[in-house]
């Protein structure tokens, strides 16, 4: 027994020692002509690796893509690596703009403004402006970051309405509706055929908020939405009642899928992919999801049908995923050159086709599948809370979103919800004022 114990202990100690000897103190030697990219995009890894091989053939520069997923683990790794000053040459910061700003201020992110502006802004012009704005810090930004462009979008995303061609045809509808009135008529026709109208993951409150925000921009225009956030226009304003009434109308006309207020987006995605609903409100990532669930699904993308023809329908969108360059990297120039190459038309078209994401390069639209092209062609209609000059208080947003749910389940009227939201808004404004005074 004693001998066996010693033997096991000895073997274990030997193994540990062997592991120490093979690894300890051995600093990974990095070739001068190689760059390291840390990313979190499991579904894009294979395409990245193929592109890296192509880049090495063309330039002789080896690009190593290291995948760390899920995104939570990746974020932890980036923060830890930043603290230890061992960030790779290229990486992404999956966090709020505030955190991106702190990375920039700590000197971990290279300012790419000059690179984007070089050659008459050729690089900047090739990309969707909305995709770049997420990576941009404007003059006098609240984070006190030197104005400039700090990140490179590799794809874009936006949230739109999807329609099932087969189901619309079944209800005798040849063309998708172009305005909200037509949409309600279409939904009635679908209902007569026993087909559910609209499905969306409104159990995830931000999606319902996004839908409402689209219509707020369409009904009252950006300036009045911002004025509301500033506190100059109350939520009891008739325009906001109109926005909230959309949900009441949709519910009254039987347009919404059953249980929509508690539906997680992945279940809403299943419903649309399996042809249980004719319309969906979802992000461009759905192309990937629908393809996996039902490759034969015949569908198209369209802007949510507007109510007010006089104002544009704005949708949420912007950069999908972005990379930044490590400012402390010895291979900074190589890293920037690689990102320029990665965001060029040909590579973007390849990446988009392979991964079914929207390209960041607007010139690549002609070379990608139709559904992606439909999504991407509305990029100029996009907006996003991260680029708005004012943002609403989190508690007000919560009250607004929960109010939408109350309207859908028939618990409250749009007027009541508007009043509730305004009460929260007044309270938060008062708090803000007293904080500013002190």
């Amino acid at each position: 027994m004693g001998k066996r114990f010693l033997l096991v202990g000895g073997v274990f100690s030997f193994c540990l020692l062997a592991l120490v000897c093979t690894r300890c103190g051995k600093k990974a030697e990095k070739p001068a002509n190689a760059i390291m990219v840390w990313h979190w995009m499991t579904d894009r890894n294979d395409a990245f690796v193929k592109l890296a091989e192509k880049y090495e053939k063309e330039t002789g520069v080896k690009v190593n893509f290291e995948l760390y997923a899920p995104s939570d683990a990746y974020s932890q790794k980036i923060i830890a690596a930043a603290q230890a000053k061992v960030l790779p040459d290229i990486y992404g910061i999956l966090d709020k703009k505030e955190i991106i700003a702190s990375f920039i201020q700590s000197g971990f992110v290279a300012d790419l403004t000059e690179e984007f502006k070089a050659n008459n802004s050729a690089w900047e012009k090739s990309l969707f402006p909305k995709a770049l704005s997420v990576n941009k810090f404007e003059t006098d930004n609240i984070y006190h970051v030197k104005p400039g462009i700090y990140g490179v979008p590799i794809d874009v995303t936006n949230i739109q309405m999807l329609y099932n061609r087969k189901l619309l045809k079944k209800a005798g509808i040849d063309q998708p509706p172009v305005n909200f009135k037509e949409f309600l008529t279409a939904v009635q026709a679908l209902k007569a055929q026993g087909i559910t109208g609209l499905v969306s993951g409104w159990g995830e409150l931000w999606m319902a908020d996004c839908f409402a925000s689209n219509y707020a921009f369409n009904i009252m225009g950006e300036s009045r939405v911002m004025a509301t956030f500033k506190g100059d226009v109350p939520y009891t304003d008739p325009d906001w009642i109109k926005v909230l009434s959309i949900f009441k109308d949709l519910q009254n006309k039987g347009a919404l899928a059953e249980g929509i207020v508690t539906k997680a987006n992945k279940f809403a995605e299943q419903d649309f992919a399996l042809e249980r609903a004719a319309f969906a409100f979802n992000g461009s990532w759905c192309v990937n999801v629908y393809h996996d669930m039902n490759p034969d699904l015949e569908y198209g993308a369209m802007l949510p049908p507007p109510i007010n023809g006089a104002l544009p329908m704005k949708i949420w969108g912007g950069a999908g995923s972005s990379f930044v360059v490590n400012n402390l990297s010895a291979q900074k120039a190589l890293a920037i050159n690689f990102l320029k190459w990665l965001t060029a038309k040909e590579q973007q078209a390849f990446l988009s086709t392979e991964t079914r994401n929207l390209p960041a390069n607007q010139e690549a639209l002609t070379q990608i599948p139709e559904i992606l092209s439909q999504f991407a062609s509305s990029m100029n209609n996009t907006t996003h809370p991260t680029i708005w000059p004012y943002n609403e208080d989190a508690l007000v947003i919560e009250a607004f979103d929960k109010g939408i749910q109350s309207i859908i389940i028939g618990e409250k009227t749009p007027e009541q919800v508007a009043q509730d939201v305004q009460t929260v808004k007044d309270r938060q404004m008062a708090k803000k004022r007293s904080k500013n005074k002190s």
Binding site: T42, D72, K77, L274, V289, M293
Partner: protein
């Protein structure tokens, strides 16, 4: 016919208890069954076919999961990590627990309370300092760095469990061993450790589970794919927005099988370890 009221009551009680236990067992086993069932389906059928037993068995998923997930390398890594970490934890925690329980030295209580306090800190809370420390020691992206960190993670609970066990060990046994010429280390090796077998079984299974399923710390400390544990293979099937459910479920089945076998093989000891703490020696 006269029915014995006592027998009736006890049978009724037994039926109620067994029905309850069967229901609890079903809730525990159903996810495993669902995983197995889903692993045999295709992407086209997984969302449509609601039957408990799939109409067609797609065993090819297992081959794809094994090859696409690079499971051969990751399985070996996980095996190395699990064996090394569990062995390390058992050796270090049993020595420490024995010392905390039977030896007298200055600061004993402070040190023990520090170990207990370490149990309260969630692992993610120590990620950044751990990474910085490992980086300074040159142990980032090394097997030994990960093994040492994981040993550290499992120590607090293991020391606590073993100390409770050793506290109840009669001092007569120690005295007898001392009369027979045992040193302090000898008493630990020949008396305390064999008696603590049930508690060690609990520690082995808890820590094996913990190490086998750990992924976040591995992602943090390891960069090379060739050093990653099994859970890394499962990530391949989970896209940012979409998931390849059949392959993921096949991968999960492969990943869960060894640990289920370990659990089944040590089941008796675990129950003993959890219930027999009061009778030592």
């Amino acid at each position: 016919m006269k029915i014995n009221r006592y027998i009736l009551a006890s049978r009724l009680k037994s039926i109620v208890i067994h029905t309850f236990l069967i229901l609890v067992s079903l809730t525990c086993l159903f996810p495993l069954f669902w995983m197995l069932r889903s692993s045999l389906m295709t992407n086209a059928t997984i969302f449509v076919d609601k039957s408990l037993i799939p109409h067609e068995f797609n065993i090819h998923n297992y081959y794809l999961a094994w090859t696409e997930g690079n499971f051969a390398v990751y399985c070996l890594n996980s095996l190395i990590y699990t064996v090394s970490v569990v062995f390390g934890i058992v050796v270090v925690s049993s020595l420490a627990a024995y010392a905390f329980s039977r030896l007298k030295f200055p600061g004993k209580n402070i040190f023990f309370n520090m170990f207990l306090a370490a149990m309260m800190i969630p692992l993610p809370g120590s990620f950044v300092p751990l990474y910085v420390l490992m980086n300074k020691l040159g142990l980032v992206n090394t097997r030994i760095g990960y093994i040492l960190c994981m040993i550290n993670v499992g120590l607090s609970l293991s020391i606590f469990l073993l100390k409770t066990f050793f506290d109840k060990m009669p001092s007569d046994l120690e005295d007898a061993a001392r009369i027979d010429g045992c040193s302090k280390l000898g008493i630990w090796r020949h008396v305390a450790l064999p008696l603590a077998r049930p508690a060690i079984a609990v520690i082995v299974i808890f820590n094996s589970l913990n190490v086998w399923n750990e992924y976040i710390l591995a992602t943090l400390l390891l960069n090379d794919k060739s050093l990653m544990p099994l859970q890394r293979g499962l990530m391949v099937f989970q896209g940012v927005h979409s998931v390849d459910y059949p392959l993921l479920m096949a991968g999960l089945t492969i990943a869960a099988t060894p640990i289920i076998l370990v659990y089944l093989s040590m089941q008796k000891h675990i129950i003993k370890g959890l219930s027999s703490g009061a009778v030592v020696g």
